[in-house]
């Protein structure tokens, strides 16, 4: 689906076709073309009408791209990632949004999952400043909204890590290693997406590509700053996950120790006693022991109790029980 908004003479209106004269900055026109899940015929607007480079068009139409910025003659091609809210409940997921940024226009290509773009498209006809400020502020509005969506996801991830950390010690189960591995993958995805994204925005903030105003550079620096923190969090989470896995391993070993101590204590107490009963069950006349009277039994019983007490004392000294 193609949506085109054009801003001229102070008014923003929706239109259906692009006049190539608008590309000339002298025309004083700003326009925004949004392609939502474009079909192949719809994508011709990129290659034919706008004349973008085939490689950039191919990237924009392809399924998965990583964050990057590429300068072409007269325009920038950017890929950025936004949180994918349609993938609720299944960890951290992002989808990519493609931007073509020219002097008088911005073209966005996405698959319809972008909340930030949907909102701006809705407000665009009423709020003339959205397009009236020019393409770079428009890009900033979208990017700022996209990056703001990262923070709650980061916090959810942090909560899950807190929970894992508690589980390791309070209720370790055989499923825990699996959960840890899954969170590790989420953290890796986060790091993988935010690091190049941070660099892309950082280059915009440093005015590496386009001649943007000081004010816009301040704003992109702010977005960059948010991404720096997100990337920093991703690094820290990576570190925590490793720590959690190590603690889980250490905890498992500890519990094994506890189990084995119980077994050893039980075996060490009962094996000698069982031997004793076995000896007195033999079909052999025991020398000091004629016929086996009740008094003899009490003697044996006493020896058994004494053996148990001595062993319990020994184990207590070793801190086993």
């Amino acid at each position: 689906m193609i949506t085109i908004f054009v801003h001229r003479d102070g008014r923003t209106e929706r239109t259906t076709s692009i006049d190539r004269a608008w590309l000339n900055p002298a025309a004083g026109v700003t326009f925004w073309v949004d392609l939502q899940a474009p079909s192949i015929p719809e994508s011709l607007i990129l290659s034919d009408t706008m004349g973008f480079h085939p490689l950039a068009v191919e990237d924009a139409m392809s399924a998965i791209q990583f964050p990057k910025v590429e300068a072409y003659d007269g325009y920038l091609y950017l890929v950025l990632h936004a949180i994918d809210f349609t993938a609720a409940g299944s960890g951290f997921k992002t989808h990519d949004v493609d931007f073509f940024l020219g002097q008088t226009y911005m073209v966005t290509v996405h698959d319809g999952r972008s909340r930030a773009i949907a909102e701006l498209l809705e407000h665009c006809p009423r709020n003339t400043r959205i397009l009236g400020d020019g393409p770079v502020p428009l890009l900033h509005r979208i990017v700022d909204a996209m990056v703001d969506d990262y923070r709650p996801e980061i916090e959810k991830l942090e909560d899950r890590l807190d929970e894992l950390e508690a589980l390791v010690f309070e209720n370790p189960s055989s499923q825990l290693a699996r959960q840890i591995l899954e969170e590790k993958r989420d953290v890796s995805s986060l790091r993988r997406v935010t690091t190049p994204q941070r660099d892309v925005i950082g280059r915009l903030a440093r005015r590496e590509f386009v001649d943007i105003s000081t004010e816009m550079s301040f704003r992109f620096r702010d977005v960059h700053d948010h991404l720096v923190r997100v990337a920093d969090d991703a690094m820290l989470f990576q570190d925590r996950i490793t720590g959690i896995l190590d603690a889980h391993l250490s905890n498992t070993s500890n519990r094994l120790n506890e189990v084995m101590k119980v077994l050893t204590v039980v075996a060490t107490i009962f094996m000698p006693l069982t031997l004793l009963t076995g000896m007195y069950g033999m079909n052999v006349d025991l020398p000091h022991f004629a016929g086996g009277t009740a008094a003899q039994f009490w003697w044996l019983f006493g020896i058994m109790i004494a053996t148990i007490v001595v062993m319990l004392v020994v184990f207590r000294r070793r801190h086993w029980i």
Copy 2:
């Protein structure tokens, strides 16, 4: 709560409002505005009276910011972290203090937990040099006090690591892995805060932003040097924590070995003997063994003792007992 001190004609006095003429260096006035846990109306002094950039004001008013320095037109915006002494007994915690540094003024924004600022605010009316020296030395005074507070915290952390290291070998418990994980988190926090802080101060010391005097550059270099050591300690602690966890794991395995050796020794000694008594308990006539006399018993007893002795010798040779 807003506190304003102004220094003119050699005197420092408290005032309630700011004259925008003071912003002109030619006026020869230095002033310090301190906002403690500012309310939204109080924060208007940042945006309206002082005219700071909305992004910087937003950052200053927001809860958590990481150490950074940002140059705006005519002033610097800095975020630095101080030790949070209100969070006693719960590991390493910091809170952020925001600074706006102009040619004739400094504005500080914090939530009231800053010991360094509280002390300076108290001394400010009596000691005219505090404001008389200008905003950069004032910044240095606060930052120097803030950074000096790190050293005792580092030492507490080091003591806790020493204690953990001793516990691993002397009194290992199932709680140990949890404590190690907690200290690891503390060390990560420390590293996370000090590394960017060190870089911020380093950039001030290298006179990257403001034209500060050689003397002030020496002083910031000294603060930077302290932070380098703190960041270095954080790295070293990270390394030690890893070593402690590894040693804990190794120690747990070792103790498991000890437990299993005891079990194996006990089982290996008593199982054959129990078999022997079982054999002589069978309802079967043993060939070389008519009726079972006392002499026979002594033979059996001798065999049992011999078996035990031989096994103990074997285990001793293997260094198991």
Copy 3:
């Protein structure tokens, strides 16, 4: 086997010998020499006819070379790696292709396993643009096809990792560690090949060596971008493999815990009971127990059942069963 194609006057034709006059750009001739598994006499075309440097010729003729680019006087020598499809079913394998790139020619040296070159050689006589566009676009065509072949291999590798991850938790076997180690080696090979390859193509894209057109630089940037993603995947896979091995270790420990708990529960229940039966099997008159009637048996039986119940409750409380 030597194959030579020459493009002049708009036509591409196969030929058997090279005219050294073609080396002069003024001649308007472009030619492509392909050496497939060249014999020593065939390799003379490199040293004698084309006059390439002995070191480059030696490298081109040697078995294994890692991706690199070297500038010689008037030509570039490149080594790149393509997926080896002849090694089906045995993990990730590559073979090297050597390129000599001059102003009017390209020479390729390979062992006949290169699918990209085989296809181009076939299409070369019919499609005059292949050679007509010049040597740099020809190089790009081959490299682009070679790099496109990496994606399916990456996906196969990713599938194998997914499978390993599932196996760790669902059907751990003693062969698993071996498989993990093998995949680790594949991932290492991938990373080892793609990292230098990415850098070689990156240098071409940045026009470091040859004066290539903006268009070709865009195209090499696109290839570089693909390799950046492949190298990025390799890094991620390395990380995942480590996580899988850690999870495997943790899982093994967990299962050991389960096994040991079963053993301990069984031993703790049956050892005391066996002692009890042993006591009543001794050739000793038990005091409170004359002759041993059926009622006595039920008492004993009740004690045994009670012991079992109490122990099961204790183990349940400890979450062992």
Copy 4:
């Protein structure tokens, strides 16, 4: 304790006070002030007589400083570490020596443990060249002696690592993990001290601070080269320690395996046999078994021996015994 040597007119003599005229290079005087464990009044010579910056004086008087070099107006302030020989037998320890290096003088501040300085102070009156060569060669003499002392310590550390490595396999004990952790800490200290020290000397060798002669630059390059090797050794030791700990863990697991195999072999052989004797001990008429004659016993005995032999063969096949 303050010691002052002054060199003028070709003679070196001890003196008790400093003439500020000596600071002028034109005076042709070179002097060396050594402060050994200076008291507060003695330290006034630094701040008042020599006029050093308060921050440098504070650092010089403080207990622990890490290696660094700081340029002040007209002089350098250096902190370097020497091996602490007074801490014999307790691993790797260093103490810091502070240097102030001016055009005509060198001031050293230390706590009296510096062997290199003690020797030079002794030789200074007799060997006029020590001071006559100027302050930079004097600094080099001390630094060279200090760095030469590292080599034997490195070798001791290496010997201890060799010993640990042997112990892991030959005589593993529960104390081993502790020793490994201690050596790890020593290696960390070594690395922590040598890395900044190497950089300080490297900057001197590159003539970053002072205009030193080519000859002196060669000499500092040589000292730098020694420190590069020491830092390199520290990295290698770190790596080895990690390897030793891993091997220790692996070895502990292996020994546990051995212990458990013994237990399992013993239990698997004796449990079935004990069951057999139990069956023939039951108060039940066995059908094929009337009265229990000696022949029956030999049958049972044969079955037992056969069971043992079969099991031993099975275990041998599994490489358990």
Copy 5:
């Protein structure tokens, strides 16, 4: 032992002394001085005749030096490492060769183990080009031969790693961890030697020190390329060793699991049955069981067999057997 070859007027002849006039490039003389395990008097040729810097001479005479290159006035001092073939069968060993490279001469200092130098010394009188090409090509000849010797050693190391990897899974023994640790040390040595060596040659190839011809720069680039691959292999081996150790640990744990499952299965089957025989061996009248006839035995026997079958089914379901 000192060997001197001088090349003048197209002839190479052996001589016993050096004419200092040869040092002048205008003399058109090239000479090579080789010191094999020089005695102190022999080393005077370095300091007195050739006038090399005392620090370089000291380094050349000392036992162990790491690869480096140092520029002195008018000559270069290089240390490079060659494979030590005299240390056969004991892993990876190198020895150092020192070079002094002037405009008209090369001086080599070694301990007689250098195969590359021995061969060249032998061929020198017959092949006039060896010296006739000048000192830089002579250096290249030796270095090239030295670096070529690394490849077979790398392959031996790789074979040993393959073998270790197979052993981990096929025939794990308690000696394996030790072997892994030894290979790890060999790989560390390799990396330690090749990394600086690669950098030294790389700097020669980039013509950082001497004004060498394009041809020689190509040749050194080729040597550099070989060392890059060796250093790359060393990194990969390091990675593999870590993987092998991890797999070994994981494998040990797995085998422990197997052992423990056998023990648990055996104990779980025989302990209840032994209890049963114990019960029927008690001196107690069992109620439903008068006298104990053969039919009763078959009942008991049936219960035992049923118990075994049920347990085997349970264990099979748990994949324990």
